[in-house]
Amino acid sequence: MRYLRPVICSFLLALLVTTLTACGGSSSATGETTTETTTTETAPGDQTTDVTLDSPHRGGTMKVVWNGFGSSIDPGVDYDGNWTLLRITNDGLVAWKRVSGQDGNTLVPNLAEELPIPTNGGLTYTFKVRKGVKFSTGQEVKPSDFKATIERQFKLPGPVASFYAVLLGGAACEASPAAGKKCDLGKGIIADDNAMTLTFKLKHQDADFLQKLALPFAYALPADTSPKETSVTPLPATGPYMIESYKPNVEMVMVRNPEFTQWSRDAQPNGYPDRIEFNLALTPNEGTTQVENGDADWIADQIPTDRLGAISEKYPEQIAINPNPQVYHMVLNTQVPPFDNLKVRQALNYATDRKALVQLWGGPKLAEVTCQILPPNFPSYKPYCPWTKNPGETWTAPDLAKAKKLIAASGTKGMKVVVIGTPDESTTSFDLYFIDLLKSLGYDASRKTLQSSVEYPYVQDSANKAQISRSYWYPDYPAPADFLDIVVGCSGYHPNSTANPNLSMFCDPAIDAKTRAALAKQITDPAAAVPLWTEIDRLTTDAAPWVPLFVASRLDFVSPRIGNFQYNPSVVGGFMIESAWVQ
């Protein structure tokens, strides 16, 4: 995933909390937060007590600037970064707890009355659907709506249906010819609208099934929703807000959903602002100025690096930094010279001054150096860094001597290397660093700049023979396989296609055999699979399909009138707009 999005999946954290509670040691999520967070009005009592109702902070309009607004307002389609918004307009059966800190990765029942305990050897999940919840259109939410939503998911063009292919009949839906796609999950989902029960039947065990049901793809929509993607017409909402209007690249407005009554503060708390206006027309630079001037309350885009210094000095109380496991790396195309040569890939890894790049990104508070594929805190992550002066667990300094020796041995000196990049400031600055580095290693390096809409498809297609480009990836799926089998593994590798997430074109048969074994093991014995993934991570790191650079953090900049800033660490989290005060 390469598009900027303010909130980055922390599926792994969710997993840590839910399945590996023993290692929940990833320190407080808001380690660097300077904003007064977590001063929630934690009124004791019932989950349904709506604390916003009598609060003096209720009301007002929040203004948000968001240049890189995501792809779609259709929860069935959006995969690019509107999840943080869809989270407050729509609901699934289950949800990550809507609080800041590590607790925000805990699953709680949302439109379901409680979390089900799987029966039938983990193959059947039976939910009791909450009564009396209404869509913004006035219709009541029924179990059959969920069934229709998942079926709709299969009919929409896009990659996400595979999340639910584990359901009985799911594979058939997936295989149905795309034109006039048909899908009947009658066997896999049994909805009883009278008893308000909903039963999911799985083909095989899936440890992450509940997590998948918490994703926006499974947010309930009325059963009669068109199987075509909605573009600018908002779909019915269940959450505290609904989209009033949406003009791409211009603006979007959210208002209160008149049909909303809080049913669970943990799953979907009511919001404070009455109205949320999103300005989608300003560059991040102009957006930053608006927040500085108090004309906007929050900028969803990344703050331009140049502005960080002045902002952190002038408005230290208005910024918050929270971890988010995006792994930034340079992609090396392992099938095109000179990077088809392992020595060259290793050399570039040795030569890269990761510390300087962290500084270029915005400093050590915003990024942590890494040398390997899997991000820290990921299941089966073990710190590993072969690409440093003293190889071991952590990176210390580049080893130029070693790099030069490897390049000399490779016999590729003098070759032409073209770095592919986009015109934005950040990518350009990284590309320039690597052009200089490649030049100093003896290559004839230059750059090819492509518009961001062109660049990603271009580097994906092996026919273009793109040599090296910057990219990042965050786990949108809670398994190491998302990195090791998709991004740098054989399953993700589709030659001559623009649907190829494996930009390195890296597929090593020996590693792949181990990946298959680990995947098989994961179903039968997840704990035993962990060390296997650790090994695959090391082997892949050694094969150097990437120059892993760092794991980035998220910086939020808000106006001084924002109170009660909270950051939810879940995949659909980030700055919790609904819990912030604008008055």
Partner: protein, 323 residues
């Protein structure tokens, strides 16, 4: 005469047709442009891609695709964007057009008034120091890159002096429709108006001054003088009126070009959601339906303007018809 008008109109449509083909070809000659890829989202399987291609007709031969596209732009008018799936392009342009029109019309008023004032003054004060001084100012206006001027204006009004009474009234960048809040609409546009008009003030003032001075020796001016009219009256009434022909025809073309999307730099710098910005976004996003529709929309204005001016001139000067 009728033949001439018909010829001009036919050639107008030929130009528009050729233009649309040209844009279509430029787009499809660009590698890495795969609308299906954009629609499929990330991690799409090759099968999904093929399915999308089929359902959008992207697997058809180019001429067929071209005809389908043109049909949806011109006849059914329901063409949809590739990047923002389902967004109808024609209404999108119709929503952007008033923004551009407001920007350009306001700037045009400024540049007409200011350039006539400067041009007249300079012509009247010919021989004094004021003339070269005014012309130097006009030249400076003509030489400033508009995007840079816009940036500097933003720096001054949004940041440096934003807190001073001088500019505290300047609202944050953006646009408010006039129907929503006319005062805010005006405040939003003041700075963009000035920035956009600077270049044209310089240009038109120079043109006007030369035309005024040129007409000095024309018969009608001598006659007017001979009649004993005051210098000022001769200048303002007779000479200015005569110079207006050039002025108006230039203005027609400039205005059309700006309304057509030529104001994109100002729109981009000030975050105004007008036609120029829309075209620019679609071009950098390689969103073919929007590119086609906006470029045709823009070309339509330019071609109409030059055709109309041609025809008007043909009325005024019969020699042109044969040329």
């Amino acid at each position: 005469m009728i033949g001439f008008i018909l010829r001009r109109i036919v050639s107008m449509f030929v130009v528009l047709f050729a233009l649309s083909v040209l844009v279509f070809l430029i787009f499809f000659a660009t590698p890495g442009v795969d609308p299906a890829r954009k629609m499929a989202g990330r991690n799409a399987t090759p099968e999904t891609l093929a399915a999308i291609r089929a359902s959008f007709g992207l697997d058809r031969p180019l001429p067929v695709q071209y005809l389908r596209m043109m049909n949806r732009i011109v006849i059914t008018r329901d063409v949809e964007s590739y990047s923002n799936r389902g967004v109808r392009v024609i209404p999108e342009i119709m929503a952007a057009a008033p923004v551009t029109f407001a920007l350009v019309a306001g700037a045009a008023i400024i540049w007409i008034v200011a350039s006539i004032a400067i041009g007249l003054l300079a012509a009247a004060l010919r021989g004094t120091l004021w003339d070269p001084l005014l012309m130097a100012i006009a030249l400076i206006g003509l030489s400033i890159p508009v995007f840079w001027l816009g940036e500097v204006a933003n720096l001054v009004t949004q940041q440096r002096w934003h807190d001073t009474p001088l500019f505290s009234w300047v609202p944050p960048l953006g646009y408010t429709p006039i129907g929503e809040d006319p005062v805010l609409w005006f405040k939003h546009l003041v700075v963009p108006w000035i920035v956009l008009s600077v270049l044209f003030v310089g240009f038109y003032a120079r043109v006007l001054r030369s035309d005024l001075i040129e007409s000095e020796n024309e018969d009608f001016v001598r006659t007017a003088r001979a009649k004993g009219l005051s210098e000022r009256r001769v200048l303002v009434v007779h000479q200015l009126r005569a110079s207006m022909i050039t002025f108006v025809s230039l203005f027609g073309l400039d205005f059309a070009a700006l309304v057509a999307g030529g104001a994109l730099l100002v729109e981009v710098v000030f975050g105004l959601p007008g036609v120029g910005r829309l075209t620019y976004l679609s071009l950098s996003g390689l969103d073919l339906p929007v590119i086609m529709a906006t470029v045709l929309y823009g070309a339509f204005f330019i071609v109409i303007a030059s055709t109309v001016i041609d025809i008007l001139y043909a009325f005024l000067d019969p020699r042109i018809r044969t040329a």
